[in-house]
Structure formats: C-alpha cells, structure tokens
C-alpha cells in the first residue's frame, strides 16, 4: 500500500471519530427538539456546566468560593476531592436537578408559546448557566482526567508501520486512544438510548410525546414528567459530551461553542432523527478531515473552520429537511 493511501485511511478514521463527538452534541439537541419542539440553544453550555461540575467535585473545589469570600470574607476553596465515580454520580444528580428546575421555572410557564419564544428562553438559559457556572466553579481553564486513556496508540503505530510499500517514508498510523474510547462510549450510549426508547414504557411515552401531545395526554402521559425525563437524558448526554471534549481540550468556556459544530450536523441529519444526528455527525467529521487532507493544502488550509457550514448550506438549498428529517409539506 502506498503511504498516501494509508494516510487517507488514517484521516478517515480520525474523521469518523471526530464525527462521533459531533453526533454526541447533536444528539442532545435532537432529543429535546423531538419531545418538545424546542431548539435548545443551551445544549452546549449544559455540556460545559456538566464538565465544570465534574471537575469541581473531583478536585474538591468549594462551589461559589469567590462569592463566599466576597460576602463573608471566608477564604475556603478546597474541601474534599471526591473519587471520580462518586463525582460522576453526583454530577448526574445535578443534571437531573437542573432538568427539574428548567421544567419548573421555565417550560411550565411557556406551554403552548411560539417556538421562537421557547428558543429565546433557551438563549437566556444558556447565558444564565454560563455565568452561573463561572460563579460556582470559577472561570479558569481546568484539566479534566477521569482515567480515560489518551495519547497515541503505540500498538497501532507499530502494527501499521510495515504496511507501506518498500522504500516509502511511513511512521505508522496515529490514532488518539481518547477518540477510540469516546467512540466506544458514544456507541454504547446511543444503543442503550435506542433500546430504552424501543422496549420500555417510558421510552414509548417519550416517542409518543414526540409524535402527538394531545394523544399522549389522552393515554395518561404527563407532558411535564416527560419533559423532565428528556432534559435529564439531554443533560446526561451533555455530561458525556462534556467529558469527551473536556478531556481533549480542557474544561473552559469555549467548550460551550461545540454546540455551534452541532448545527451543521443537525442540518444534515434533520432535527428530528437520532440516526440522522449520528450519520450527519459522521459525514461532517469525515468530510472536513478528508477535505482538509485532500484539498486543504491547495487553498491554504484551515478549511475545517468553514467546511461543515458550507456543506450544511448546500444541504439547506437542496434538501432542507435533512437526510432523515420529516419532509415538510404544507397544504395550502
């Protein structure tokens, strides 16, 4: 095999794994959009907030340390570093509490409002949470390590180093173990979500609410309970996304911007389809990496910044409902 071909395979593999990470963020959007018709602008901030909470608990930060100091003069910033597993469980609890509060304080009061109003409410929520996260855990960049292996896989490098044709310079494939683990975890997460929604009463109720609110009510499903469940699941997905991206990039404000990367994924996959979010993520991931690899050098590189959006634009022009989205047919 030629070294170029091997490099292309490496690029595609890395693209697929990046795509899984995008899909993970997009998935959170789709879940909430399907169940309540809300485009949750705060999904990215939820990932940031979940990661901040996890790191904070793990490192034993005292929440609101700055605030406490400003108000009482007490300088407490460290108490007890939780073991990772416990910190994870507590963070899940915090995200469930968050879902509950969102329903109680926001959604409950906005039932039957226009989608744009609900969207604006989530923008408000996003900025509130961003500030709240800062206040609670501080704004400095934090390193997140929950024991997922990272760094290049030496095994793969050594296994592939001899694959290139004789006489070519080739140093083996580079794949980050963190990406591999992220992929495995994301696949497990999606599969268990699918099983849950297919084969359990609550899962059916989730799908029912996504299809028809009135009919769901008529069989005894409480919309408000379902919204709490959906936001909890979205919070959990945000936590997983936050962990993966946080381990990669560090936990910092820019983490919330990964939500922007989910937008083109959603345009490709459609806002209402979970398989769409996954396939959309993979197409964007592979697309941008291969484009950068093959075309990037000719036009000066840095194509990864815009490729996804241009691809999404093309989709908007030719297939506005996305690959798997429901076709919008308006009868006049």
């Amino acid at each position: 095999m030629s070294a170029d071909f091997l490099n292309l395979i490496e690029v595609i593999l890395n693209g697929l794994m990046a795509g899984v990470m995008y899909a993970l963020v997009a998935l959170g959007f789709v879940l909430i959009f399907k169940a309540s018709g809300i485009f949750n602008y705060a999904q990215g901030v939820m990932a940031l907030f979940a990661a901040l909470t996890l790191v904070g608990l793990q490192q034993g930060q005292v929440p609101f340390a700055h605030l406490i100091k400003a108000v009482t003069g007490l300088d407490v910033h460290h108490w007890w570093s939780m073991p990772t597993l416990l910190a994870l469980l507590v963070t899940v609890g915090v995200m469930i509490l968050f879902a509950f509060l969102v329903e109680r304080l926001i959604l409950k009061h906005l039932v039957n409002q226009e989608p744009i109003i609900l969207f604006m409410a989530t923008i408000g929520l996003a900025y509130f949470m961003e500030g709240f996260g800062d206040l609670m855990w501080g704004s400095e960049i934090k390193k997140l390590d929950i024991g997922i292996p990272s760094g290049g896989s030496f095994w793969l490098e050594e296994a592939t180093i001899g694959w290139a044709a004789e006489g070519e310079r080739y140093f083996g494939m580079y794949i980050d173990l963190l990406d591999v683990w992220a992929t495995v975890i994301a696949v497990l997460l999606v599969v268990s979500l699918m099983l849950f929604s297919q084969y359990t009463k609550t899962g059916r109720a989730l799908r029912a609410v996504a299809d028809d609110h009135q009919a769901a009510l008529s069989v005894g499903i409480s919309l408000r309970t379902i919204w709490v469940i959906v936001w909890s699941i979205a919070g959990f997905v945000a936590l997983v996304a936050g962990i993966m991206w946080g381990s990669k990039l560090g936990v910092q404000f820019s983490l919330s911007l990964i939500a922007l990367k989910a937008l083109p994924v959603l345009m490709l996959g459609g806002f209402t389809s979970i398989p769409g979010a996954i396939v959309g993520g993979l197409i964007i991931g592979v697309g941008e990496k291969v484009f950068e690899f093959a075309i990037g050098p000719m036009i000066g590189g840095a194509t990864e910044n815009w490729f996804a959006y241009v691809l999404a634009l093309l989709f908007l022009v030719f297939r506005p409902q996305g690959l798997f989205g429901e076709k919008i047919i308006e009868r006049v």
């Binding site: 109720a205 008529s218 005894g220």
Partner: protein, 275 residues
C-alpha cells in the same frame, strides 16, 4: 354538597344488556372561548354500561363536550359528578388515569410507531414499574411488559388487525388507523370510552365493521361508551340514549325513538339533510 343521587334502578335492554346507575353526570356545564359560548348550561348523564350518543349539527358543541369530559377544556361553569362524587379540576393525563379513554375526530395516533406500540402506549396507566427498573430491564419491569403485551395481543385479535401489527401506523389506510386508535383506547380498559366521530370518512363496509366493534366492546366488556356521530342511521342503531345539541344548547335527550320524533330536534337537525 347536596344529597347524592341514588343509583337508578337497573334496566335491561331489549338485547339483554344491563344498564346500571349513573356513571357520570354533567351539571350545568358552560364553556366559553373569549366571547364565544361553545357550550351553554348543558346537563345530562351517562349511565353504566350504556352507549350514549351526542349528536347535533356542526358547531353544536359536541367535540367541546367530549373535551370537557376528558379534561382538555375546563368549563367556566358547571360540575361533573362521577359515581356520585364531584370531580375536581384535573389535567387530561390525570383523567386518563381515572379510567376515561378516547379517540379523536382527526385521528391522533403516534404516526412513527407501529400498531403494536401504539396500542401498548394505551396500557400506560396500567404499567407501574419504576423507570430505573425499566432501564435495566429488571424482573418486575420485564414481567409487566410481557403481561401487558399479552393483553395488547388480545385486543389486536379482537379488532382483527394481526396483519398490520408491525406496520408504522402512518402508512395505514384511514379506516385501519381509526381501528388502531380504537384499540389504543381499549387497551386502557376504560370505564368510560369517548369516541369522537368513530365512523367519519369511512365507507359502508368500514362503518359496519366499526359498528360491530363498538357493540361488541359494549356487550362483551360492559364498557360505557359516549360517542359523537353524524350518520343518523348508525346513531339510531347503536345508541341506547341520545343527547342532542344545537348552538351549544341541549335541545333533546332520550331514546333514539323519542329523539327522532321530537319536533325541536327535527327542526334543528334531522329536518336538515346532511352529507
């Protein structure tokens, strides 16, 4: 509150079904949307085991009445009494848990789900396993799922829809969708079944099938049924008693024969040819 109405003496119909006491009583229901009065001071009752038809021209307030009964609308005035007890204001899903199931005039199925799953959601009020047991598919949750699945299969047999068990309902023809919707309502084993125009838009054959199912449900399971229907032939054949609405007011109430001969009803409704 005042004295409870004692159960009426049981009556036996010509075809041998037993009609019991009052299951639900509407007292002076008034429903307004802004300046429009959809229902004006309507009172009537529904007795255990009967088929009660609500008829009237378009815009008479029939669907609004059904929506009041199942809690989609909250009347400004009036009370609903269930088995001698005043019902407090409840949300629709809570009313479903009290044993009232319904179908809709414009079919409201879960279109992306299969026939089987649609009818399974009808079992929602009967399934109790907590979510964490469902999530890990733990023993009790699994047994509950299997037991309810069996009940659903019996409903599917009863409605003769085995061939479409696994078909997403969005792809089914209209008449079949109506039947699945009936199945979903039946799955709740309701004590009161509300049917909003169960035969609208059906051809003669489909209407005959649906009539048969409605009669069988009432006869075999003793389910009390309140239905809205436009086809007068069907109404006269099916129902034990008929309440007639016009412009949000009640203008007639009685057996099909009574109603057919009532001059006010004839003027308002029967005299005007429909369809």
């Amino acid at each position: 509150m005042g004295s409870m109405e004692g159960p009426m003496s049981e009556t036996v119909t010509a075809d041998g079904r037993t009609i019991g006491g009052v299951l639900m009583e509407m007292r002076g229901i008034t429903l307004r949307f802004g300046g429009v009065t959809a229902i004006k001071d309507i009172s009537f009752d529904i007795r255990e085991g009967e088929i009660r038809a609500i008829i009237g021209p378009n815009g008479a307030g029939k669907s609004s009445m059904l929506n009041v009964i199942n809690g989609f609308y909250h009347p400004q005035d009036g009370e609903i009494w269930v088995r001698g007890k005043k019902r407090r204001a409840l949300r629709p899903h809570q009313i479903a848990h009290q044993g009232i199931a319904r179908t809709f005039q414009n079919i409201a199925l879960f279109k992306g789900m299969t026939t089987l799953d649609n009818i399974m959601t009808g079992r929602f009020t009967k399934m109790r396993a907590p979510w964490w047991q469902q999530a890990v598919w733990a023993g009790p949750a699994e047994r509950e799922e299997t037991a309810n699945r069996e009940i659903v299969e019996r409903i599917i047999d009863f409605l003769e829809i085995q061939p479409i068990r696994k078909t997403p309902v969005g792809r089914l023809p209209y008449g079949m969708q109506k039947r699945v919707e009936l199945g979903r309502a039946l799955a709740a084993e309701p004590k009161l079944l509300l049917l909003d125009e169960p035969m609208a838009g059906m051809n003669v054959e489909e209407k005959e099938d649906m009539s048969r199912f409605i009669l069988d449900v009432n006869d075999e399971f003793g389910t009390t049924i309140a239905l809205i229907e436009h086809d007068m032939g069907v109404v006269m054949d099916l129902s034990d008693r008929v309440v007639v609405l016009d412009y949000g007011q009640k203008i007639g109430d009685g057996t099909p024969a009574d109603v057919r001969n009532d001059q006010a009803v004839i003027d308002a409704y029967l005299g005007v040819p429909h369809d």
